[in-house]
Symmetry: C2
């Protein structure tokens, strides 16, 4: 099972970082993993309520915030959603493509283009930090 494998890696990753992947956080991570693409906080909340009987927004938002801070998830601002990071551990800068229609996600290597962007930002006085580029559009399947 792929999810179990990811969870294990996430566990090691958190231990290395000195942060705790508690039962709740693990449960939320599993719920996000159970989707194929972008997931919204209130979807996770609904799932959590099915599994636990009760849960409130802060519970899921806190868990999601933790997982993002730990580098296990990325937030997709344009869609108010979250995706799993499939490059945990490798220090990467990804170009993350998100289909606004079906939520499908693809990750490419953004290193070359980020070099250019770093230089461009640098000449404007900005030192941009390590990060992913996130772009929304339409995947092959969703185009007519």
């Amino acid at each position: 099972m792929e999810i179990a494998c990811f969870i294990e890696a996430a566990d090691r990753h958190c231990q290395q970082q000195g942060v705790k992947l508690t039962a709740l956080r693990r449960q939320v991570l599993e719920l996000v993993l159970s989707y194929t693409g972008v997931v919204k906080a209130y979807q996770v909340l609904a799932d959590l309520q099915k599994q636990r009987g009760i849960a409130a927004p802060p519970t899921v938002y806190r868990a999601l915030d933790f997982l993002v801070a730990a580098g296990l998830l990325h937030k997709v601002d344009a869609l108010n959603g979250y995706i799993v990071c499939h490059h945990v551990g490798c220090s990467h800068e990804g170009l993350i493509l998100v289909c606004g229609d079906c939520g499908r996600v693809e990750e490419l290597d953004a290193t070359p283009v980020l070099d250019v962007l770093r230089q461009q930002a640098g000449s404007a006085g900005f030192a941009i930090s390590q990060q992913n580029l996130m772009l929304t559009g339409r995947c092959e399947g969703c185009r007519v």
Copy 2:
């Protein structure tokens, strides 16, 4: 006055595009221009209410949507806000730099790099839509 100058340019720009910068839209644009950085819809709404006595959310959202579509504003998803585009006529895809410390915003032209990204995304089957690139970092003043 700089605002008046911008409004004039915006007017010409809209005429060229065959769209109408109505009184309401102009008023909203002026309100956004009166701020120095990122502005939120409900801030504009509050200002509009001060000037008109009454206004509802759809009024301001419709105006903001129009101004974004016309290329006069950009939406900053990560901050649920809007900024003025200072590249009207040149390009409508911005590289928006946000200082994580002080909130300062700078906009560069993202057209060249987005051409590259479009091609890269295209070979992965994604057709990315018109949008801004947003990067966070530190501005000159906030670096030690």
